[in-house]
């Protein structure tokens, strides 16, 4: 297996992009990444595209060749793949692209993630989000994706004493971070009182505990580390790429306050990279709901089980601490275009590791982590990225 590096990154603005189509945003992110990598399209080997629900959202399946076509790359008849894993689709696509380069099958691949959510009403987008849960045994009985995460939240509160205010500290943190991110869906600051006073979605979660439905796309170019310096001054090595799965329905888990898939993916990733959670300086973690971020901090090994509430609310994961969480603003504030999220997390970490994150720059960013989740954790994906020495 070859070492794999990220050679270029690209990302559109996230948000309600009324005037832009799915193919436009997909192409914009991909071409940005190709230019950033100084890669001629003649060298490209394949496209991997993370997308959760284009069929339901824009009545269009078969989107990977579509994006290649409109990116002007049709002439070489490249292989193109769509990868789906609920909200973790983007990170799953990255894993596939990583394997393709590591194996030697292709030298250079583009991994994209794109989702167009605002072409359907909010109620339809909610139903589509919930389709990442078990339709037959959860949704049919009245469950929604936020309701299932609320069940996790209530159990976490019951077992560990986690408070409503500690949950609310997550969106407050994310919005403060996104204020410095020009691509973010929301750049306004939030107060704890605003989060606590927002209308309920599924108690204890309110509207401001939940990430928005956004349009957006992100892309990265991957290539062999050994020739990475031809393309970039600061190659970013993929130190680990790990995927783990779990039961489709939350009800079939042995534990309801932990995502075993995240625990396992993280353990495998730290083993692969021969590093420990304490080595990570910057992380983009799954925070589709406030509780998701707290559970993730525990499952990734950044805090002891049950301690995420008080530790996060203490403010220690802000910029300037030993570990900065979600400098982009996370899913909550940068935005949540399902299939684009996992790729955008990597774009942010690459910019941090290169020292190109401007106002958002985390000092001494050497090792970064990304964490993407589908549904209530039937899929978790963890990547570790570091500056190549």
């Amino acid at each position: 297996m070859r070492e794999v590096a990220v050679l270029g990154v690209g990302q559109t603005k996230f948000g309600e992009l009324w005037d832009r189509s799915f193919r436009e945003i997909g192409i914009e992110a991909g071409l940005q990444a190709l230019v950033d990598a100084k890669l001629s399209s003649a060298d490209l080997g394949a496209l991997y595209l993370g997308n959760m629900a284009s069929g339901s959202l824009i009545d269009q399946e078969h989107i990977a060749p579509l994006i290649l076509d409109y990116a002007g790359l049709v002439g070489r008849h490249l292989p193109a793949f769509r990868v789906e894993g609920g909200g973790a689709s983007g990170a799953l696509a990255l894993h596939q692209g990583y394997l393709a380069v590591a194996s030697g099958l292709y030298d250079y691949v583009v991994v994209g993630g794109a989702e167009k959510l605002t072409d359907v009403p909010d109620s339809a987008a909610s139903a589509i989000a919930s389709s990442a849960a078990d339709h037959e045994w959860e949704v049919v009985f009245g469950a929604t994706l936020p309701a299932l995460w609320a069940l996790i939240a209530r159990r976490h509160m019951h077992r560990f004493g986690t408070t409503r205010e500690e949950l609310a500290s997550v969106p407050v943190h994310d919005h403060a971070m996104a204020a410095k991110n020009p691509n973010a869906h929301y750049r306004n600051k939030l107060t704890l009182e605003q989060v606590l006073g927002a209308g309920p979605v599924a108690e204890p979660l309110g509207v401001l505990d939940c990430a928005p439905f956004s349009d957006g796309a992100a892309a990265v170019v991957l290539g062999p580390l050994e020739i990475a310096r031809k393309h970039t001054e600061i190659p970013i090595r993929i130190a680990a790429s790990q995927v783990a799965s779990d039961t489709m329905a939350l009800q079939h888990r042995k534990e309801f306050t932990t995502l075993a898939s995240t625990e396992v993916a993280a353990r495998r990733a730290f083993t692969q990279a021969r590093r420990a959670p304490a080595d990570v300086r910057v992380a983009e973690i799954h925070d589709a709901y406030s509780i998701s971020a707290l559970v993730a901090l525990e499952d990734l090994g950044f805090v002891d089980k049950g301690r995420a509430g008080p530790e996060f609310a203490s403010g220690k994961f802000g910029r300037g601490g030993p570990l900065t969480i979600n400098p982009s603003g996370g899913l909550k504030a940068q935005g949540r275009p399902f299939g684009a999220v996992g790729v955008a997390q990597v774009v942010e970490i690459v910019r941090q590791l290169r020292g190109e994150a401007k106002d958002r720059q985390v000092a001494d960013a050497t090792l970064g982590l990304t964490h993407d989740v589908g549904g209530t954790g039937a899929t978790s994906v963890v990547h570790l990225l570091e500056r190549a020495s």
């Binding site: 037959e136 009245g142 929604t144 209530r154 408070t163 209308g199 979605v201 599924a202 108690e203």
Partner: protein, 161 residues
């Protein structure tokens, strides 16, 4: 959802028919054809037998849903819970015949046959299990977390079935 897609799960959704692995005695709902506990050794293949759940259980976690699932718009707000049955499997379902304020972790409940949702005015009506309290529900407002004071008592608004 097509008629056939819902209809084929009727024995499970109407009658709580699960399955049991005769190799390790673990009970599953909905029924499984392979036992996750025994799959390493393929010992469970063709050893899963039907098993009837009693419908008795207790609440492991709950939420009061305000932004409903499709087809549940008329029921808002409704209580949704994880219920551990006495036989072991955990089910996701609504808890009805209780004020949202009365729901708590540990509440004993019993499955009850109800209308789940309808697909529009002319569409299929789905039936299945929900849960109702099997003990006197404590309707005194309780603190929902250590740092949160108990809510003031208010006029009962029964969660609609």
């Amino acid at each position: 959802m097509s008629i056939a897609r819902f209809w084929r799960e009727t024995p499970r959704r109407y009658n709580l028919g699960g399955s049991k692995c005769t190799n390790c005695n673990t009970v599953y709902f909905p029924p499984r054809s392979v036992c996750p506990e025994c799959t390493h050794h393929r010992q469970s293949i063709e050893k899963m037998v039907p098993f009837q759940l009693s419908g008795e259980g207790e609440v492991l976690s709950y939420t009061v849903v305000h932004e409903p699932a499709e087809g549940f718009e008329m029921l808002v707000p409704y209580v949704l819970a994880l219920v551990r049955t006495t036989e072991g499997p955990v089910l996701t379902g609504q808890v009805v015949d209780i004020e949202p304020e009365g729901i708590r972790i540990g509440l004993k409940v019993r499955a009850t046959f109800r209308k789940l949702r309808e697909e529009g005015k002319a569409g299929v009506i789905h039936y299945g299990y929900k849960f109702a309290p099997a003990e006197e529900a404590d309707t005194t407002p309780v603190a929902r977390s250590p740092a949160e004071p108990a809510p003031e008592p208010r006029e009962p608004t029964r969660a609609r079935a």
